[in-house]
Every structure is written in structure tokens, then in C-alpha cells.
């Protein structure tokens, strides 16, 4: 079995572990892709690098476009300006040409001479800023050369300042601006470019330009502009020949392109940044440079060409602009891209870091979880191991204990007995410890289940108290229990565990208390109702003052007079509680209705002792297993310290909580709450009989006076007596009691006429006049012819001498020893009342005599398989004069009851092996009905009625629940008596059947 259990434990553990592992599968996305994380990071970085490059390129391209646009616009601007200025100059030269033709040729004699021309041109030089100077060369044919030379007084010279060789025609300069006066008399036809120019000009009749060349007199590059001047008016559409014929001379000017352009550019903004070249591109294969250096540095990558039109259709020019410097690296784009990249890199890294962190944390978490599962499994395994081992240990231990018990029963020498007893005590201690460990392990393994059965709380408390009665009596401790009236009689819960809790707490208290008291108190936990102080005051009626006087020293209103740790348990609050309940009981109708409504009741249980208390430092680990207050405790008092932890677990299982208040050297008060179910009213009456310990009802209505100086103790005594149905008054001392008796006796006897006076030993001994007053009481009673109330002494422990003294003082022989228990008190009272015999009117003697007359001479069959029961039942019935026969089984009974028989009644046990009581009864009834039918058939009616066979059969049963009773009737029984026999009960049952007969007999 143990093995099987272990296996199932194992199974459950693994299942649990698996389940937990299952929940662990809930990976996050990050966790699932953890291997990809570095790759993700790399990818991210690459994408970002690409992106930033793209951004850079985009920005750079924008820049370049803008640059190009700027360049082209600048270039075009320059070209336009140059062109404009050039054309202005050309126009002016044109105007000069017309001037020359007008004043030189059409006037005769010529209106212009060198001087006029020089002056005019000088004064209009501002009109031709691009021209370094203008000159007029006349067309001179060779035939006319001599005439011309003569006329002018100089010979025609070539460009090289030599007399001109003979040619077809000449073009000697006759007029010139002062700036170019050095070319006077030079033959323009001698210069190659000039000649070509002149020829082209007169052929077209328009301004023509030379290709650039180094100008005479300056070393600048320049071009020469040549304009033809015609002698006569040309026909409207002149041919080339006509033009050549009409040509009179040529007006020319030199453009100093280099300086001109220089000047022009100087006027414009951005001059420095831009590099300008002007080319003559007439010959497309060979560009002739007009301005700028051929091999200049500059940004070769980017250039802009602009066409230039200087008005000569034969010549083509263009301007090429370039930036002086290479395009500057675009820092904005670069930084933007770079920063973008850096930011993205950082973001990527942060994400990566976070992911790594998450992965790490999750790994840790899973690790922890696994460890936790393992630890829990280990814990459960440990508990299971403990449970198993404890169980396995217990079996042999019980063998040992049993054997020891048997050994102790044999003849042993005193030494042997001592040894064996010691061994037994040790064994018992061990068993207790193992049981506790087992309990604890069970609780931890979660295997402890509470049952829910109806039980009587009060009787359980009584039982627990009885367990400790001997110990407490030996130590001289007051041990008492008080259950408030409001606590329901029967509650639903786990009686065993409740008992265990109480046993534990009380056991502890008993162990650690050397003087004073242990007081168990149960009341319904509810919001305390505020009660006037005045009311509380009035309840005290000076009793406490007196108590204080008596002891003379420090006296507390507790059970034993010793100080208790928790002041709340002192008399004041206790009294409040009791009176509050009394008050509430007045208006109880509603209350009970309300109580019924709620399904559960919360009880507050406190166990108060006046022991050594718990040291302050140890108070917070009292409920930890195996922790006693300190190591010296276990040395002095023994024990393992597991009890309280079990108690705590149990209390918590029962839905309550436990706490304590402790003052070292003063005592401890442990309080706990538990929740019990209420019983439904209907079922309550049934259950009560079957489960509760039956208290004898014979004392119902008896009146008692309790004489006790200590109100708490008196309340406890009253509680127990009340449970027996007695009416109780409390007197603070004997004197008051005596006067109460007397007064009631004489004047208003109806109110209280005590049947019993219970005197607490302390109260009796403390009053010096006690004996006297008792005697007085006696006398008074005798004198007034009132029956003497039974005086009973209550004592925790009593010496023989004291006992003698008490007897002498008129107390009954029986002393009620504390701790009080209702059943024990009942037994004692019964003893006293019986020995007193002074009490008539009690049911029992009456009952037995009647019973005697009822049963006398009757033949009764007792059927019970239990020998002892049989014997007892037989004994009881025999006592009342019945002739009893016994049968050990249903079959035997059937045999005896074969008709005809002479039995008057049959008491039948219900639960029997083979044939139970029901079955036996059914068969008996069957036999009887057969016999009756036969008889009826034989003898007609007449005598038949009376002699009809019907044996009264009474069930004997231990559980008297309704179902059983119904079953009894169903199978033909006539009634039942509860087992064990009680005379009253027996009488009631028997009376039904025998009433008529005894009367007729007697």
C-alpha cells in the first residue's frame, strides 16, 4: 500500500512538473528568435548604411543640379552682356563708317581730315568701350598708288613698316584714332588676317571679324572688326562685284578682347568663383582661344557653353564657363547622412540590447521557475517521504508499545516494571511526535481533508479537559471551559481536528503553567455591541472589591486570581460578554431567526493560561515548526515545538486564524477563530440524540446556588450546571448564600429554593465564619422544616483532612473535582442526590418501581449477538423481575419463537450478522400471521381476538435516528429502546404494551 501511495505521489509530482513546464512554453517572440538577434542587428545596420548613403547621394545630386543651374545662368549672363556690349560697339563703328562715307566721300573736298577724325573718335570713344581704337584705310588700287602717295606725302608701308611691295590694291590707313596712330600709312592688306577681313567685309557689306590674334602694339589677344565704306550709293540688291566696285575704304577697329572681357567680368558678382573662356569656333576642329588660358585649372567636370553672336555670321564664338574650384564636398549632406546613420545605429543597438536583456531575463526567469518547480517537487517529496516514513515507523512502534503494555501486565519486579514503564513513556512520546510530524507533512502535502459532520462542541471540550484533568490536578491548576450560550449546540465541522487544536493548545498551557489557571473560552465572534458602562458597573455588584480584600495582595479578576496576559479576558470584559448575551437573549426570537438564516457561525476560541509566557524575542516564530521559544524551553519542558505550527495550519484549514498575546512570567492567551456550519433546525433534533453525549435529563429544573468569590469561576460552574438544565444563582460568599436561602425559604419561597448548594473550596476556607454560617443555615433550614439542600464542595484538589472537615461541616461525601465537565458533574450530583435520598419526586425511583410492576414475571427474550450487551440487557430486565432468556442471533431467536411460545416480549438487536433484527422480525411476523390465519379459520372470531399472536418486539439500537425508527415500524416492530438501556427510556417503551396487563394481573 505504501508503495502504491508512493507511486501515485510520484505520478502527481511529475504531472505537476510537466504542467509547470507546459506553462513555460509560452515563449515570447523575442525568445523564439533569439538566434537571429545578431543577424537582425547586422541587417539593420546594413539597411541603415544603405539608407544614409542614399540620402547623401540625393542631397549631393540636388546640390550639383543647383550648381549647374547657377553656372549656366552666370555664363549666359556673361555671354549676353559681352554680346550686347560688342554689338553696341559694332553699331558705333557702323555709324563711323557712315560718317566717313558721308563727310569724306560725298563732300568734295572732304570734310574730314586726320585731325577731325582723331578728335571725333577720341570724343566718342566712350561709345566703344570694347574697341581699343578705330582707323580708316582707303582703298587704293595700284594704278592710283603714286597719285595717292603724292597726295599724302608718304609711301604705303606694310605691317612690318617697310615700303609696301607692289600689289593689286592697297588699303593704307589714312585716319586713325590717336590710340592707334601708329598704324597710319600701314597697308592693312599686308596683314593676312586684315586682308581676309577686308575682302570679306567689302563682299558682304557687313562688319566682319578676324580670328583672334596678338594685336599690334599690345600683346593682348584681340580681334579686328572691319567695316566697308562705299563711295556711291549701292543699288538695292547689290551683287558682290557691285559692292567691290563701290568700295571706297574700310573702317576697322581692334577689339582687345582680353582686357575687355576682364573689365566686363570685373563688373559682375561671382567673378572670383567662375572661370570664363571665350573661343572662336569658326573652325570647329580648332578652337582658337580669345580669352582665358587654355590650360587653366578649375573644375573640369562641370562646364557650360554659351553661344556668342558678335554680328559676323561667318565667325562663330562661344563662351565656356567653369567653376574656379571643384565642387565643394557637401558638408550638410554628409553630416545629415552621417548623423542619420549614427542615430539609426544607436537605435538599433538599443533595441538589440533590450532584446538581449529580455532574453537574458526570460532565461533567468525560466531558470528560476524550473528551480522553483524542482524545489516544490522536492518539498512535496520530502513531505511524502516524511508521511510515508512516519507511517512506516508507527507500525513497529505500536508493536513495541503493545508489547510493552503486555509486558507490564505480567509479573515484573519493581525495577523491571520501572524500566518497562519508562520505555513505554518514551515510546508514547515518540508516537506522539511521529503523529505530529505526520500531521504536519500531511498538511504540507495538501492531503489533509476536513470532514463536515455534526458534532457537539461542548462535549468535545469536556473530553479534552478530561484528558488533562489529572495533570492539572497534580499541578494544582484550575482548568475550566466556558462556552457561551449563543454558540449552537451542534455545529458542522471536523470534531477530530477541532479536538486536536484544543488539545494542543491546552496541552501546551498545561505544560508551561505551574500555578494559576487554564481557561478555555468559546463564544460567537461578532461585532461586540457597545454596552453602557453603567450596566457593566451594576453587574459587578461589589464582588470584585471583596475578592481583592480577601487576598490582600494583587488580585485579578481572572479564573484563578492570577494575572493573565490578555486583559480582554479579565472579568470585566467577560462579564460584559455574558450580560450582553443575556440581554440579547431577551429579544432572542428575532436573533435566532437571523441566526438560522446564516449558514455558518464563526467561533472565537481562546485558551488562557498563567504560565511562563513566551519571551518577546521568540514571539514571532512561535508558529514556525520545530521552533520553541528558546532552546532552554525544550530542555526544561521537553517537546519539539511542532504542535503550534500544526495548530496554525489546522486553524487556517478551518477558515480561521490564530493569534496570541503573551507576557513573559505572566502567561499567554492563544485565540483563534474557526468557521463551522450551522445545522438546520429540522435535522438538529435527530442528530443530537445520535451523536451527542447524552446528558442525563434528571436534573432539569433543579435549583442550585453556586458560592464562589471569583466571578469567572462561578460563571464557569454556572455554565456546566445550566447545561444540565439547572437554574443557577451565584453568591459571592457563603453568607450571602445563606441569607438567600433563608430569605427565599421564609418569605417568597417560590422564587428560589435551592436543591443544591455548590461551594467552591476557596470560598469555604477563606471565610472564617464559614462553618458557623453553614451551621446556622442548617439550623434555619431544619427549624423551618425545609428540606436540607445538598451541600457539595467544588475543589481543584483536596487533602483528606480538608475532606473530613468538609464532611463535618455538612458537605456531601462526594466532592466535585475540577475540571468541571457536565457529565461528571451530573454523575456526582446523581450520587449525592441518591445518597441523600431526601429528594422525592424524582423520576427514577418512581420509574423503576413502576417498571418493576410492569415487568414482573414476564418472560422476555433478548436477542443480541453481543454477549456483553445481552448480559447487561438481561441484567437490567431481571432486576425488574422479568424472566429473561437470551438468543445470540436472529436464527436462534426464530427457533425459540416457534409457535406456540410463552414469551411476553422480545428485545431485538438490529445490527446482527447473518440475520439482522429487521429480517428476524419480518419472519416472526410472518409465522404469526400464518398462525393467526389458521386460528381464525379454526375457531372463528370469538376468542381469537385476544389470543391473536402478536409478540411485542422492541428494537434495541444505538443510533436512534428517525430513518431507523421508520424502518423498525415498517418491518413490524412495536417500538425501540436505545442501547444502552436507560430505565426511563425502557419504561416508556415497555409501558405501551404492558399497561393493561399489569392492571388486570394485580
Amino acid at each position: 500500500m505504501g508503495l502504491k501511495l508512493k507511486q501515485s505521489y510520484h505520478h502527481s509530482v511529475t504531472v505537476k512538473v510537466n504542467e509547470q513546464m507546459g506553462t513555460k512554453r509560452g515563449y515570447t517572440f523575442i525568445q523564439a528568435n533569439r538566434a537571429w538577434l545578431p543577424k537582425f542587428l547586422l541587417l539593420w545596420v546594413m539597411v541603415m548604411a544603405f539608407l544614409s548613403t542614399w540620402i547623401y547621394k540625393k542631397m549631393d545630386a540636388d546640390n550639383k543640379v543647383r550648381r549647374k543651374e547657377v553656372l549656366s545662368s552666370m555664363c549666359d549672363q556673361r555671354a549676353r552682356m559681352l554680346q550686347d556690349q560688342f554689338s553696341v560697339s559694332v553699331n558705333h563703328v557702323h555709324a563711323l563708317a557712315i560718317l566717313v562715307s558721308t563727310f569724306h566721300y560725298y563732300k568734295d573736298p572732304s570734310a574730314i581730315d586726320q585731325e577731325t577724325f582723331a578728335e571725333y573718335t577720341a570724343r566718342t570713344a566712350f561709345e566703344r568701350p570694347l574697341l581699343s581704337g578705330v582707323a580708316y584705310a582707303e582703298r587704293v588700287k595700284h594704278s592710283e598708288r603714286e597719285k595717292f602717295e603724292r597726295q599724302h606725302g608718304w609711301t604705303i608701308k606694310t605691317m612690318k613698316r617697310e615700303p609696301s611691295p607692289i600689289r593689286d590694291e592697297y588699303a593704307p590707313v589714312i585716319f586713325s584714332q590717336e590710340t592707334v596712330s601708329y598704324i597710319e600709312s600701314l597697308d592693312m592688306m599686308s596683314g593676312e588676317e586684315d586682308q581676309e577681313n577686308i575682302l570679306r567685309a567689302r563682299a558682304t557689306g557687313k562688319a566682319v571679324l578676324t580670328s583672334p590674334f596678338r594685336l599690334l602694339g599690345s600683346h593682348h589677344l584681340g580681334v579686328v572688326l572691319t567695316f566697308p565704306v562705299y563711295k556711291s550709293k549701292l543699288p538695292p540688291k547689290p551683287t558682290v562685284e557691285e559692292r567691290i566696285e563701290a568700295t571706297a575704304g574700310y573702317l576697322g577697329g581692334a577689339f582687345d578682347v582680353e582686357s575687355l572681357v576682364e573689365n566686363l567680368l570685373g563688373q559682375l558678382a561671382g567673378n572670383q568663383a567662375i572661370l570664363v573662356n571665350v573661343y572662336d569656333v569658326t573652325n570647329s576642329s580648332d578652337h582658337l582661344i580669345m580669352y582665358g588660358h587654355q590650360n587653366q585649372d578649375g573644375d573640369l567636370a562641370l562646364l557650360h557653353e554659351s553661344k556668342l553672336d558678335f554680328g559676323d555670321p561667318f565667325r562663330k564664338h562661344q563662351m565656356i564657363c567653369r567653376y574656379h574650384q571643384k565642387a565643394p564636398t557637401s558638408w550638410t549632406a554628409l553630416t545629415t547622412a552621417f548623423l542619420f546613420f549614427v542615430i539609426c545605429l544607436l537605435v538599433g543597438y538599443i533595441l538589440y540590447g533590450a532584446a538581449i536583456h529580455i532574453v537574458k531575463v526570460e532565461d533567468d526567469f525560466h531558470g528560476m521557475q524550473e528551480l522553483m518547480v524542482r524545489a516544490e517537487a522536492a518539498d512535496v517529496a520530502k513531505s511524502q517521504f516524511l508521511a510515508t516514513v512516519s507511517h512506516e515507523i508507527r507500525t513497529p512502534m505500536n508493536g513495541i508499545l503493545g508489547m510493552l503494555a503486555l509486558l507490564l501486565d505480567t509479573d515484573l519486579s519493581s525495577t523491571q516494571r520501572d524500566y518497562a514503564q519508562t520505555a513505554q513513556v518514551c515510546g508514547k512520546a515518540l508516537i506522539t511526535l511521529i503523529n505530529e510530524v505526520l500531521d504536519r507533512a500531511k498538511i504540507e502535502a495538501g492531503k489533509l481533508e476536513l470532514e463536515t459532520v455534526p458534532f457537539d462542541l461542548r462535549s468535545i471540550l469536556d473530553d479534552v479537559l478530561s484528558l488533562f484533568s489529572e495533570k492539572s490536578r497534580n499541578k494544582g491548576l484550575e482548568l475550566a471551559v466556558f462556552v457561551s450560550d449563543k454558540v449552537p449546540e451542534m455545529v458542522m465541522g471536523d470534531p477530530g481536528r477541532f479536538r486536536q487544536i484544543i488539545t494542543n493548545l491546552v496541552g501546551n498551557s498545561v505544560k508551561f503553567t505551574e500555578r494559576g489557571h487554564i481557561f478555555v473560552k468559546v463564544h460567537v465572534a461578532e461585532n461586540p455591541k457597545p454596552i453602557d458602562d453603567a450596566k457593566a458597573e451594576s453587574c459587578l455588584d461589589g464582588g470584585s472589591d471583596e475578592a481583592a480584600l480577601i487576598s490582600g495582595g494583587r488580585q485579578f479578576n481572572t479564573l484563578s486570581g492570577y494575572e493573565a496576559a490578555d486583559e480582554r479576558n479579565s472579568w470585566d470584559s467577560f462579564q460584559l460578554l455574558v450580560t450582553a448575551e443575556a440581554l440579547q437573549n431577551d429579544a432572542s426570537e428575532k436573533m435566532t431567526v437571523a441566526d438560522e438564516a446564516s449558514r455558518s457561525v464563526t467561533l472565537m476560541v481562546s485558551v488562557e493560561d498563567t504560565g511562563i509566557g513566551i519571551p518577546l524575542i521568540a514571539q514571532d516564530r512561535v508558529f514556525t515548526p520545530f521552533m520553541q521559544a528558546d532552546s532552554s524551553t525544550s530542555r526544561n519542558y521537553g517537546g519539539t515545538g511542532i504542535g503550534l505550527s500544526i495548530t496554525k495550519c489546522l486553524v487556517e484549514l478551518m477558515g480561521g486564524h490564530i493569534s496570541f498575546i503573551s507576557r513573559p512570567q505572566v502567561g499567554s492567551t492563544f485565540s483563534f477563530t474557526t468557521v463551522f456550519g450551522r445545522l438546520k433546525k429540522a435535522s438538529r433534533s435527530d442528530m443530537k440524540k445520535s451523536n451527542a453525549e447524552d446528558l442525563p435529563s434528571g436534573f432539569r429544573g433543579l435549583k442550585a446556588i453556586v458560592v464562589d468569590g471569583k466571578p469567572v469561576r462561578a460563571a464557569v460552574t454556572r455554565y456546566h450546571l445550566k447545561r444540565l438544565g439547572m437554574l443557577v444563582e451565584i453568591a459571592n460568599n457563603v453568607k450571602i448564600a445563606a441569607s438567600a436561602c433563608g430569605k427565599n425559604g421564609s418569605s417568597c419561597g417560590s422564587k428560589i429554593q435551592p436543591d443544591i448548594v455548590l461551594v467552591e473550596k476557596d470560598s469555604w476556607l477563606s471565610g472564617e465564619y464559614s462553618c458557623l454560617s453553614l451551621r446556622m443555615l442548617d439550623r434555619k433550614q431544619n427549624g423551618d422544616l425545609f428540606k436540607l439542600p445538598n451541600m457539595i464542595l467544588l475543589a481543584t484538589n483536596i487533602t483528606n483532612a480538608e475532606l473530613e472537615k468538609a464532611k463535618a461541616a455538612g458537605f456531601a461525601d462526594t466532592t466535585i473535582m475540577k475540571p468541571l465537565r457536565a457529565s461528571m458533574v451530573a454523575a456526582c450530583l446523581q450520587q449525592v442526590l441518591e445518597t441523600g435520598k431526601s429528594q422525592p419526586g424524582k423520576g427514577m425511583p418512581n420509574g423503576s418501581s413502576v417498571l418493576g410492576s410492569l415487568l414482573c414475571g414476564k418472560r422476555i427474550l433478548v436477542v443480541d449477538d453481543n454477549m456483553v450487551n445481552r448480559r447487561v440487557a438481561a441484567g437490567a430486565l431481571k432486576k425488574f423481575g422479568a424472566a429473561v432468556e437470551c438468543a445470540a442471533s436472529g436464527k436462534a431467536a426464530l427457533k425459540l419463537l416457534q409457535l406456540p411460545h410463552s414469551f411476553d416480549a422480545c428485545f431485538m438487536d438490529i445490527q446482527m450478522p447473518e440475520m439482522d433484527g429487521f429480517e428476524a422480525t419480518r419472519r416472526i411476523r410472518m409465522l404469526e400471521s400464518q398462525a393467526n390465519e389458521e386460528m381464525n379459520g379454526d375457531t372463528e372470531k370469538g376468542s381469537g381476538r385476544k389470543d391473536e399472536w402478536h409478540l411485542p418486539i422492541l428494537a434495541m439500537t444505538a443510533d436512534v435516528i428517525h430513518a431507523t425508527y421508520d424502518e423498525c415500524l415498517k418491518c413490524g416492530m412495536d417500538g425501540y429502546v436505545s442501547k444502552p438501556f436507560e430505565e426511563e427510556n425502557l419504561y416508556q417503551a415497555v409501558a405501551k404494551f404492558f399497561k393493561t396487563k399489569p392492571i388486570s394481573d394485580s
Partner: protein, 148 residues
């Protein structure tokens, strides 16, 4: 005088047994049944009870030692013991029996064993007391006979 002393002793013994909850009211009734016509009644019943109880305890021991406990058998034995102990008024033994019955109803071997041990304990205790009581009783009876 000796008889009186013995009777006191007897009464005290019974009283302590009451106080400890070993006996209940039923025992009083049992004692009531004993009179001159039936002087050995209590003695007789106690002897019967002890024999019966010992038999049952032996049976219980046997059954509980089995690997598979027959709880119904267990229950019937305990029922017998409970019956006889309640007849004789052995209160605590009866309580122990109730515990065992509850345990066996719950098919809980562990608790059964536990309860059984408490039964055995209670019984041993009870028997010791009963033996003393019977010895006293017998001496009283023999002294009374001598006197007569």
C-alpha cells in the same frame, strides 16, 4: 471498618474513572443492577466485556495486518465492540470505537490503524482499572461473606 475503607476505595476508583471520562452514566446503571440477588453482576459483566473486547481486538489486529483491509469486516467488529462498551459505560473506549468506525467508513487504513491503537490503549487502561476494581469488589464480597 475494613469493608468501609474498601468501599471508599472502590467509590474513589469509580469516581476517578468518571472524572477521567473513562466511564459514563451507564456504568452507574450497571452498578444499580447489582443487588443482593445478583451480587456478582458487575464482575460478571466486566469479565464478559473483557473477554469479548480482547477477542475483538485480536480480530481487529488480524484484519488490520492484512495488505487489503476488509473494511466491512472491520466495521462489524468495531460495531460489536462499540455496543458492548456502550453497554458497560466505557465512554472513552466508545469514542475510540466511533473514531475507528468513521475511519473505516472513509476507507482510510492509516486512520483506522491510528484509531485502533487508541482503542487498544483505552482498553488496556480500562482493563487495568477494572481489574483493580474487581479485586476490591471481590475482597468486599469475601469480607461480607465472612461477616455473615
Amino acid at each position: 471498618m475494613a469493608i468501609a475503607a474498601l468501599k471508599t476505595q472502590h467509590r474513589n476508583l469509580v469516581q476517578t474513572m468518571f472524572d477521567e471520562g473513562m466511564l459514563d452514566n451507564q456504568f452507574n446503571q450497571l452498578q444499580d443492577l447489582q443487588d443482593s440477588s445478583n451480587p456478582n453482576f458487575v464482575d460478571e459483566v466486566i469479565t464478559l466485556f473483557c473477554n469479548d473486547a480482547e477477542r475483538i481486538i485480536t480480530e481487529l489486529t488480524r484484519h488490520l495486518s492484512y495488505q487489503n483491509v476488509d473494511f466491512s469486516k472491520l466495521d462489524s467488529y468495531v460495531h460489536q465492540l462499540k455496543g458492548s462498551s456502550s453497554s458497560i459505560g466505557a465512554h472513552r473506549l466508545k469514542l475510540a470505537c466511533v473514531n475507528l468506525r468513521q475511519a473505516s467508513d472513509g476507507w482510510n487504513k492509516e486512520e483506522c490503524v491510528e484509531a485502533f491503537y487508541s482503542i487498544r490503549r483505552e482498553y488496556c487502561h480500562l482493563r487495568t482499572k477494572f481489574q483493580v476494581m474487581m479485586q476490591i469488589q471481590r475482597r468486599i464480597v469475601s469480607l461480607e461473606n465472612n461477616q455473615q
